[in-house]
């Protein structure tokens, strides 16, 4: 039985759809939303900015808050609550490292940075990597 679901999210539309899909199709499952901050970029600005903060946990939480708020609002529409986890660094790695603690992963087909080709080439297609390497079943939502 699917009782624990990991939904990795950013602020893209497919991520929102993934959460909606998980909430609708698994009404009794525990849904945890994961958001990764400090993703590698051309100048590594976001990563360095986080590293320079005094309290990494607080700073990462603060940066992830908008995504979690949106997720909570969506969950509230379904009369549900979601757990939240924040990760730092490489998105696919973060998801794969945690996937073992869940029964399934539901994620959007592409993130908000999809249009930046550099992100696709250099950070990688997160959904594809997770799909290929995850040890648990993965659902990709468009």
């Amino acid at each position: 039985m699917i009782s624990r679901i990991l939904v990795p999210m950013d602020d893209s539309d497919p991520a929102g759809n993934a959460l909606a899909y998980a909430l609708e199709n698994f009404p009794d499952a525990e849904v945890t939303v994961l958001h990764v901050v400090g993703v590698p970029s051309m100048l590594m600005g976001e990563a360095a900015g986080l590293a320079l903060e005094d309290d990494l946990d607080d700073a990462a939480r603060e940066r992830a808050e908008p995504v979690f708020e949106r997720a909570s609002r969506r969950a509230a529409d379904h009369d549900r609550e979601v757990g939240t986890v924040v990760g730092v660094g490489h998105p696919a790695r973060n998801i794969l490292d945690r996937a073992d603690n869940y029964d399934t992963v539901v994620l959007g087909s592409h993130g908000a940075d999809w249009n930046r080709a550099s992100h696709r080439f250099l950070v990688g297609n997160v959904a594809e990597t997770v799909l290929r390497r995850a040890s648990v079943p993965v659902t990709v939502v468009r």
Partner: protein, 391 residues
């Protein structure tokens, strides 16, 4: 015919300069524009002046390397125009795919390709340039690490960067002669901040000029098709044009990314990158501002992420959440906490800043510094082989 070709070359040079202006103005002024210290048009204006100064002085050394050092012959007009098109192509690819391809590298690559095709490549010079390209990122990284680990935390505690609303300075008309006075909300500290930020920005603009003006000008200057001074003026004009137009966007995009770093840290990065770039340009090595910048940022972040935990920090953490489990006595109880019972949400793990600088992710970006110049060398080689008349 020659006039048309020269006109085409100048158009290509302006295209190259225009794009360089966009990217380098973004890196140079993004942080201060983001912090609201400088307006975009002021930034572009100051940029143009200091790019000119950099190109006119230190830039001449790089110009000499590009036009006489890498290959033993002079670039003909048609070869110069072709080289400019390869530089432009590199920029186009970088813009379309959003990957960091330093212009100086594309330029050297294209000229080296020409040298290979005509058997006029000066291997000594090219080896020297490539060794500096290897040394520079390592140097930037270690300076960043040292600053991030030991210098930045100390300075950060003592220095506060302030900005207030309203004009920085106003004219005090109370006295007999109007004289400038601090604006309504300006503090003395803010005035100092602004002056420091402006000065460092000018320094970086100078280094951008020293390293980048030759990229746009050298291919035409080499064969004497354009006088050196005229070349510098054309390149500066084009960079300035880019600064006033597309830099409005790059100051937000590139600058937006730099704005994620505290302004104080950004200033450290700017000083380090500018110094590396200016010194290398001084000895005639073509180098891009972006290389020093990126590696200093990575070093700064990594140095801070891997900083040793201070005694005070370790003690507070210990009493706060009993994370440290020394010895075998407590080891038995540890697994219970590690595995959360089924049905309970995953506890938020303590984040590790080192994960921010996963070497593989950084290497992917840096690999563009190998792929970029290699591609431009190969393309130029093939082109000049197939079209021998162009040399």
């Amino acid at each position: 015919m020659v006039e048309y070709l020269l006109a085409l070359g100048v158009v290509a040079a302006v295209f190259v300069g225009f794009n360089i202006g966009g990217s380098s103005t973004g890196i140079t002024w993004g942080p201060s524009v983001g912090a609201g210290i400088v307006r975009k048009s002021t930034a572009a204006g100051v940029m143009t002046v200091f790019v000119f100064l950099g190109g006119w002085t230190v830039g001449r050394n790089v110009m000499t390397t590009l036009s006489e050092g890498i290959i033993t012959m002079e670039l003909s007009l048609s070869a110069g125009v072709a080289v400019l098109f390869f530089i432009g192509l590199g920029i186009l690819v970088a813009n379309i795919f959003g990957v960091p391809v330093p212009t100086s590298m594309t330029t050297v690559g294209a000229i080296a390709g020409l040298g290979l095709a005509t058997d006029t490549l000066n291997y000594r010079t090219i080896a020297e340039i490539i060794s500096w390209w290897v040394v520079t990122p390592v140097l930037g990284f270690w300076i960043g690490v040292t600053v991030g680990r030991y210098v930045y935390p100390v300075i950060d505690r003592r220095v506060q960067i302030e900005t207030s609303r309203g004009p920085l300075l106003v004219l005090d008309r109370e006295g007999r002669l109007p004289r400038p006075a601090l604006g309504p909300n300006t503090t003395g500290r803010e005035l100092v901040t602004t002056v420091v930020v402006l000065t460092i920005g000018c320094y970086m603009a100078f280094s951008a000029g020293a390293s980048n003006v030759p990229n746009a000008a050298a291919p035409l200057v080499s064969g004497g098709n354009l006088g050196t001074d005229v070349g510098i003026l054309v390149a500066t004009g084009a960079i300035g044009l880019g600064g006033f137009t597309i830099a409005r966007r790059t100051m937000t995009s590139v600058g937006g990314e730099l704005s994620e770093i505290p302004l104080l840290a950004a200033l450290f990065v700017m000083v380090t990158a500018s110094t590396i770039t200016t010194l290398l340009s001084w000895i005639g090595i073509p180098i891009s501002l972006v290389m020093g910048t990126v590696m200093t940022i990575v070093g700064l972040g990594w140095g801070r992420a891997t900083r040793p935990i201070t005694v005070r920090g370790a003690v507070t953490r210990d009493t706060a959440d009993h994370e440290i489990a020394p010895g075998a006595i407590t080891a038995d109880t540890a697994p219970e906490r590690a595995a959360a019972p089924i049905g309970e949400p995953e506890p938020q793990p303590v984040l590790d800043a080192r994960e921010l600088f996963n070497p593989r992710a950084v290497i992917k970006y840096v690999s563009m510094w190998v792929i970029g110049p290699t591609m431009s060398t190969a393309l130029a080689y093939v082109f000049f082989r197939l079209v021998p008349g162009a040399t």
